[in-house]
Symmetry: C2
Subunit: 530 residues, 2 copies
Amino acid sequence: MNEIKGTSLIGYQRGALGGTAFRAFDPSRGESIAPDFHSASLAELDRAARIAESAFHTTSRFSGKTKAVFLRKIAANLEWLADGFVSRIAQEAALPEARIRAELGRTCFQHRMFADLVEEGSWVAARLDRGDPQRQPQPKPALRSMLRPLGPVAVFCAGNFPLAYSVAGGDTASAFAAGCPVIVNAHYAHPGAAELAGNAIIEAARSCGMPEGTFSLLFSAGQEIGQALVQHPSIKAVGFTGSRRGGTALMRLAGARPEPIPFYAEMSSVNPIFFLPGALRERGDAIAAGLHSSVTQGVGQFCTNPGLLFAARNPETNALAEKLKGLMSQTPAAVMLTPGIHQAYQSATGARVNSEGVRTLAQVTPTGSGCQAGAALFATDAETFLKRRELAEEVFGPETLLITHNDRTQLLALAESLEGQLTATVHATESDLAEHADLLAILERKAGRIVFNGYPTGVEVGHAIVHGGPFPATSDGRTTSVGTRAVERFTRLVCWQNAPEAQLPEELQAANPLGIWRQLDGRLTRDPLS
Amino acid sequence: MNEIKGTSLIGYQRGALGGTAFRAFDPSRGESIAPDFHSASLAELDRAARIAESAFHTTSRFSGKTKAVFLRKIAANLEWLADGFVSRIAQEAALPEARIRAELGRTCFQHRMFADLVEEGSWVAARLDRGDPQRQPQPKPALRSMLRPLGPVAVFCAGNFPLAYSVAGGDTASAFAAGCPVIVNAHYAHPGAAELAGNAIIEAARSCGMPEGTFSLLFSAGQEIGQALVQHPSIKAVGFTGSRRGGTALMRLAGARPEPIPFYAEMSSVNPIFFLPGALRERGDAIAAGLHSSVTQGVGQFCTNPGLLFAARNPETNALAEKLKGLMSQTPAAVMLTPGIHQAYQSATGARVNSEGVRTLAQVTPTGSGCQAGAALFATDAETFLKRRELAEEVFGPETLLITHNDRTQLLALAESLEGQLTATVHATESDLAEHADLLAILERKAGRIVFNGYPTGVEVGHAIVHGGPFPATSDGRTTSVGTRAVERFTRLVCWQNAPEAQLPEELQAANPLGIWRQLDGRLTRDPLS
């Protein structure tokens, strides 16, 4: 399980060695890492998709218990590989050991959370409406419906989370929980971590007797495989975490298919924070410290990194800017995930330095070579920000932009100008909030999660979390990619009319053999249908 | 309220008289009906969209009780207009009075059902996860989330349901229930019914103090207004009932917007029925009678009309065909909804008559003039059907095609060859079903509703109904356009993190002031959060 061979996993078979070879790259040392990885061929992709479609006939009928055993076995296998992940990801992504172990913990937690969810079973939202054969003028049919899995799911790995949003990440775990086979398109930047996680899933699938095709992992040096995967007729939904450009391109492909399919991309968010006057007066220093930590944590490489700070033009905001400037200036430069991400960061911060109307308050110059990024703090005013749309775009890295406004009208115009976001944060006292109901109402329309007096980084995994938001934060703002609700993305409603008991899934049988929560004639209960 | 003026309703104002004029057409008499209707201008559309966006700031905050009062008032107004609908729709759509009154009843029932749903309040799927400030290494935030309305919704009326799927139909009622303003694109074939229903909604909006822009109704002679409506940036979701061509064209427009939006089209379904041998042996005559009624009801102009019949080549099937042939041949010709629908039916049945390998078992020749359609029954074999994809396409009208197969392999190939459907029906004995688990498994992947020993026409409105299905039955097979679950289409998830109680919607407040069902730390309860 801990051997890295460099070939795709096509069900229970290994892919061929022939495809275009590529290697992972160590951004700290500036050198490539053995071994070679071999891109999957279109024929291998087609085989993976076909066996996934065939596996779906079985996985879609698995009980919650069977799926739970599989999900827990994946978690156990991932934990068994912990040291392997630590050493490989430290090289492939320049992440410190503590972060890798924490991310692994989160990854395993997610699998066990979905295991608990499907074992309990009520997530299928079962509904039973009694029939009435005597009703006039038409008999009333007995109707029973629930969520059923969609079919094979394609998952695209994130560059910034080699574990929690990658091969064995939340998309994969939630698709398995729904009863869907998964085909993963590995991220080119951490193929070693991908193969280890793939091995863990394949071993779990084997030992749990899953049908071949329940899982495949495709390596690819370019974009051809990913594009073909989204267009393959056997694929019925896609989960993606990555850039806005990549996400929207694949989203358009998914929508242009002869049979369009659900496409869930988590893409781009600048996670605005609004600092209201009372909060800055009360605890400006603490806010600056917390903000600095949130902006620079993980070299700023989180989708929830706060990239825009809004505050009134006043002495308290000046003090916040000064304090933050000091903290940012003292932040040691650090290695980014990939040369591509590093170059994009250099280019974006360079553009801000030279941008008319934007002041550079702090910019750390890296002392080391290669992919090191220095923290940066910029400032501008509301007029400039509202005129120049590029200032609202995501800069992926330890950078943030402070925008000061003159009055409430400008504040509301700034909030209204924002695109869809994963998060929007407000630092405010109770009386600030009482005075800014209009601002809060705007933010509720703009974001999937509204954070009070905290920071958007650190996404809690649970039942109530929403990691989603209006476009372009995601391609489908109705849903969440984190937490138990993520499973619903890979389902559709199916209804049985006047079905004999033997034809119904256990979830819909009158006796309620699973003891799950159901709606009987619109009333929630765990009682059987009498 | 019962006056038909022929102009659009732009919020509380009337549209101008200047746009391209058109009239409704009486398909029974073959003549146009006064008065003229005037197409909305793009400027009027823009105004409707802007006031809808502005109204959303208010409607999105309405309590369930407020929305319930509005929905019930619409129902009451529609009932007050009953005689007006009967006389106008009898002309515009050639529907008999009993059908119009039944459809009106269904329309009012839908509004009251959604009123009950939002008044009770649990539909928002509220979840509360407790925080833990002491947790190490990070404090656990308190998270609370629920469904919130998406924004202004565009609704496209169906040609075949002037009431239940039109101006005041299920899409409109469910959007209002969610808290969304609605802009309706009226169907050109029954503009008089559209205006009456629009008047009913506007009067209800006025008397309930709804903000201007909660509702608008646009008339249009061509497609320009509909296309612009789908592309308007203020529109956040679309509901559509109509043809596959129209639905997919608008779906592609919605997906190609700079900000793509959810697009819910209910489009095309041939509603296959599978007759298994035991059922035909036991009650072949009763099946033929029920089938005839389902195929010809409403001149076959239902989205759930059964267009494909599958049965084994054997004497029982021959008997079914003979019996059905007799019933179809005796069916009086009847007037269709529009000249366009009538012409399409004539053309499609004409193509089948001349189709190689297809036998015409019955075809009624209309005796009257104009838009009369005669029932038609065709038959072919599995080989021909599998070769000729056009035989699987919807023929909108009182027509059906019987396909006979030689063996089980062919039966499964036929089922597997089908596109996504609103419904799939099986006539079977218990032992038929026990022997055909593989067939049932295929049908579950193909359809939104599986009917046993019944007929797909007649969609029950309730909690468990699913009126949806994989593409091309709908553009979004995850959802239903009928029943209480339809409200979820016009919502998205929003999460509040560490929010002060005063900032939370009532649904998420610790005390549970509405007494709704919620998930507390994953456990369903109506208890307050202690």
